[in-house]
Point group: C2
Chain length 141, copies 2
């Protein structure tokens, strides 16, 4: 019997006709076990030294392109990645001192986008939005 993650990661790759290599599966499992977006450096550290940097970046980019992952920028000088496949919409909280990042479940009112759209002259539609809250986490206060 396959694990929950194994089945899901397999499905993510299969759905887009992507090769299900050992490495990619390990990467997606690792990402699936995170509670918030993580950096490529974190992934490289966790995956072990056997992993090649180029391969990681290439996999991450491929996954972002296919919508398996979402990529975020919190102003830390590097990107953060998170499983997007089947994940409900949410926002992020970012600690300005230690960099701690937390997912915040979001139930956006459609009004949020609607009123933004009304105010934006040059746009007729938005496909997505991203909302980040910054502050000090309880450990850094």
């Amino acid at each position: 019997m396959e694990s929950f993650y194994a089945t899901r990661t397999d499905e993510m790759l299969r759905a887009h006709g992507l090769s299900r290599t050992q490495g990619r599966i390990a990467l997606l499992k690792l990402l699936a076990s995170q509670k918030a977006p993580v950096s490529s450096a974190f992934l490289l550290r966790k995956l072990g030294t056997s992993w090649d940097e180029t391969t990681l970046y290439r996999a991450l980019n491929t996954f972002v392109t296919y919508g398996i992952l979402a990529q975020f920028d919190f102003g830390h000088g590097h990107a953060h990645y998170e499983i997007a496949h089947d994940k409900p919409h949410h926002h992020h909280a970012v600690c300005e001192s230690c960099g701690h990042i937390e997912d915040i479940p979001a139930h956006d009112s459609p009004q949020l986008t609607a009123s933004a759209l009304k105010a934006a002259r040059g746009f007729k539609r938005f496909t997505r939005h991203s909302l980040e809250f910054y502050g000090l986490c309880t450990k850094c206060t």
Copy 2:
């Protein structure tokens, strides 16, 4: 009689005890005349070749530190800067095709932050938030 911008930029620098050099004043005037955040490459282009790249980055960083400017990241691989001094809160719309950026005046309900704070385990307070809407602008549709 000094121009509106001259007076304001002067004030921005003076308020923080920063040297009011020709270059810094020209930079702030240019920034003050923009309707949305701009990149360092844009600023360098507009200011002319006489401007040194290092000097620009150093000035931008100083201004961000003192709250004169706000820095944003829209996933374009480089930062965008905007006057923050005395500017009312707003969000941004970003075109995923041409990169066009637009300010969106925002009247956030206090509830937006309040409900996020309630949902965020590790935070007791947020100092700021940033909300970006992504889509295709009317020119790219």
